[in-house]
Symmetry: C2
Subunit: 206 residues, 2 copies
DNA sequence: GTTTAAATCAAACATTTGTTTAATTTTGTG
DNA sequence: CACAAAATTAAACAAATGTTTGATTTAAAC
């Protein structure tokens, strides 16, 4: 499916609405009104509402691997690399938080038949990239052993999403007034906390 | 609102369906069929579909505080207590994962006007219980300082939910065949991982 | 047994849903 | 301009939605 400007416009509007109101909570008429198009255009361009969602998935499935390998290729220490990896993961997820929320919800949903193979494969690949990096760090003597490396990813991403899903609560709690301050909180507070947590886990003797 | 047996039956069925298919993805007719009642009974008992959801929230808002204080009152070490607290949190969340998923989603949803004050207050209380415990441990010299204690809760819960939301992926990944094996995985693998992570964070020098 | 309130039911209600149709307009090409 | 393909539109479609109605059944109290 080739994407012209109008299709991308629809995809972005729909992505935001799906994340805000849920897939079932968002009607094609709502999308059409927000995107300022005729309601028939969604079917015309994408075929159906479900295909529209799959279109968003495809549109957002970018290449994490390359950015990751750029970090690995540098001449920095294992701990510096580790920090950069955490930053990369969180910033990517934060940037694409909308589609991730949709996926999180629809993937654990028994209602629909949506093809998540791409999501699964990407997840598996990213997990193995991180596990290999940690393994190398262990062999080099920098990271402790006896760590369930396949759960580290869950801790990193999970911490972020708990904040995101309870954004209203944490905005009050940390006195964040607007989205910009939330972004700043993520860079200045959340990312360092996760870096500190993962580093502690990887260096702790047990 | 007093709860007779039939009301509770409806609440439980609706809770499961909302968690599986989402609030918008679950129709009253679906609930009625699953609960083997007439569709008018939902309005008759609860007033509306949204009130039904609030009924579930109320029904599940149990007293975490008491169990928590039981742990604190024991004569065990700070580290043993810490492990027990993590276990308590995860097992409670796992037991009530359905309602938590609903809340996670609807709370970050801009579509509806549902009263989350109870949820907010409970969350705030639980967070402060944990923060006080950690602060005591720091003052007693067992836990390191320079830790963002308000984010520890996010790490604990977030790790669990990332697994839950990606259950299909992790069941494949960890070769779990059924729900019983998932439960076992949580006790035998996930809880120790989180305990290890939090302990590392709280003892790490930086 | 009679009375009264609660519970249950099938049916109907007005909206909203995703999708399709068929006509019209716009765009690009020769 | 003439033509063809693509884009856009309003209208219509059947199906599904949450809720209400009004009648009927059940249960409890006297």
């Amino acid at each position: 499916m080739e994407l012209n400007e109008k299709k991308i416009h629809i995809l972005k509007i729909a992505e935001k609405l799906f994340a805000e109101k849920g897939f079932d909570g968002t009607s094609i008429r709502t999308i059409a009104k927000a995107a300022d198009i005729n309601i028939a255009m969604v079917s015309y361009y994408f075929g159906s509402k479900e295909k529209l969602l799959e279109g968003i998935l495809l549109f957002r499935s970018t290449d994490f691997k390359m950015e990751f390998e750029n970090i690995l290729a540098s001449s920095k220490s294992y701990f510096e690399k580790l920090n950069e990896i955490v930053t990369l993961i969180i910033q990517r997820i934060h940037r694409n938080r909308h589609i991730y929320k949709i996926v999180n919800f629809e993937y654990s949903n028994n209602n629909r038949e949506i093809n998540f193979d791409g999501y699964n494969n990407q997840k598996k690949e990213n997990a193995s990239l991180i596990q290999n990096f940690i393994k190398e760090g262990q062999d080099a003597g920098f990271f402790s052993k006896n760590i369930n490396t396949s759960l580290i990813f869950a801790t990193i991403i999970g911490t972020y999403f708990h904040i995101y899903y309870n954004k209203k609560y944490y905005m009050k709690n940390f006195d964040l007034q607007n989205e910009k301050e939330v972004d700043n909180f993520i860079v200045a507070t959340l990312i360092p906390h996760i870096q500190q947590t993962i580093k502690a886990l990887l260096t702790n003797e047990n």
